[in-house]
């Protein structure tokens, strides 16, 4: 257990140093969500407040998954993931290290966007609620990213594959278009997607009168995290059989 914790920390620390400034992480994890936030703000500054929860959730989604593609697929391609597997730590610890590497990147990005919105755009934010929903959301998105990234080898393949669920979720999970205004069938589909619960959670954090209970959204997101984690662990194990 102690060895695993040390291993997880080593991997996070190394991934932060090695991969956070890689172009795919910067373009998809920083530039893309920031551009969206600015575009929506400039288009309609008056109603921007209502879009903030969705944009925060989208930032969390894009930043974590973009980081996963980098921390996993660069190492798959260069063979250095195999080096980690030769170390005296469990495979689950390696995977958690990789997932947390994406989570920390997402934490920086999402927190930065939230702080900027709160300070410069006067958006109200209950920070305890914000982080209560942000952490499970980041874990769920990061685990989803790791599962998809392990299915392919190259970074560009991973980013392409990730775009499918990312864009489907952005359009169906209430980021731009309110869930309530969608047809019932699409509302049902939306509730199968983790981003929906993150948007609802952030809505609750920015306006206590809106959104569903934070704890419930956080629990659903943790369930998504576990749902993605175990298949990802199995896939990683199978990859090196």
């Amino acid at each position: 257990m102690r060895d695993d914790l040390r291993g997880i920390w080593c991997i996070i620390e190394k991934d932060m140093k090695t991969y956070y400034s890689k172009p795919p992480a910067v373009s998809w994890g920083i530039v893309f969500p920031v551009t969206w936030v600015l575009a929506f703000y400039l288009r309609n500054p008056v109603d921007f407040e209502g879009l903030v929860p969705g944009l925060l959730a989208m930032t969390a989604l894009f930043s974590t998954t973009a980081a996963e593609a980098v921390v996993i697929n660069f190492e798959l391609r260069l063979g250095s993931l195999e080096r980690l597997l030769l170390a005296p730590i469990s495979m689950m610890a390696i995977l958690l290290g990789k997932i947390l590497g994406g989570t920390v990147f997402g934490l920086f990005m999402s927190s930065a966007v939230a702080v900027i919105c709160a300070l410069f755009l006067n958006i109200h934010m209950d920070w305890a609620s914000f982080f209560s929903i942000l952490l499970p959301a980041l874990l769920a998105f990061s685990a989803m990213g790791s599962l998809l990234c392990l299915m392919v080898r190259e970074v560009f393949e991973a980013q392409t594959l990730l775009n499918l669920p990312r864009f489907v979720m952005v359009f169906l999970s209430g980021v731009i278009y309110p869930l309530e205004a969608m047809p019932r069938a699409l509302q049902f589909v939306a509730h199968l997607l983790p981003l929906t619960y993150a948007v609802k959670g952030f809505r609750g954090a920015s306006d206590p009168n809106q959104g569903a209970p934070i704890a419930l959204q956080a629990m659903v997101l943790m369930a998504f995290f576990l749902l993605f984690l175990f298949p990802a662990a199995k896939l990683l194990s199978k990859k090196f059989e």
Binding site: R6, K14, K17, G79, S80, E82, R83, L86, P88, S90
Partner: protein
Amino acid sequence: MATPTAIKASGLVKRYGDLVAVDSISFDVEKGESFGFLGPNGAGKTTTIRMLTGLSKPTAGKAELLGLDVGSNATRTKGFTGVVPEVSNLYDELTALENLLFMGKLYGVASTERHRRAEALLELFRLQEKRDRPFRTLSRGMKRALTIAAALIHNPKILFLDEPTVGLDVMAARSLRKVIKELHDQGMTIFLTTHYLEEADILCDHIAIIVKGRIVAIERPEKLKEMAIKEQAVEFTVSGDASTLVEPLAALTGFKPIIVNSSTLRCSGTTNRLLPHICRAVQDAGAEIVSVNTIRPTLEEAFVRITGLSPTVMATEKGGK
């Protein structure tokens, strides 16, 4: 008293669908021994290393390191083994020193010891001047050396080397072989795969020859050569025309000599009177012997005799390079 076993493979099998990559191989490697796995590309060498190091699960059979079953104690066995994969796969963005420190940390080496060992390894591999250079900027030989250094940072008891000198120039390969020999001399158990016959001959106490997933011979290099080459061979140069000696020598020894050049012949035979026969034939022909060389069998000849394969299959590097 029996020498303790460092590596024990018992009936290891690895199948990928219909393909049998490793077919029921068994062998023991004693502590402190340098054991070579020699075979052409695709023979199953890397697959064997992957099973021994816990990276891949055998389809059947068992691997043990220092008496521990790798399958059920992988985390423990990984703690005392160092592995140098065929590809130098350290982190491009980290410097030489940072790579070593990262590996040390991953293996739980205490901070002070980690720094001390990293500096010592940089010195051993003559990489001190490159310590602050990113891995990606190093030459191929330096990358290989650093990859071996990284496998040694936690002072492993067993070192696995998969094709350690493949793709290196002569000087870099020689320098790495020297370090591997030093590690062996210090008592480290070494398991090495190679398709360079010369490398196996120089570095290994025992050699297993593997072809198509099966071990066809395990012996000391000298014994392998003796097993394969039964005849004695002598190459000699005479003062006159050597071709006139061919028939008389064939009659005396029962083997037709090979003409190496106009004045040199290579004569082989199973008789221990080969040299007196040569002297007699030369004297009868009125010639004089200028020089005589006894030809020792090479590992390459032994490999060809044992496997029936051409030595060219070993000369081809992986990836067709």
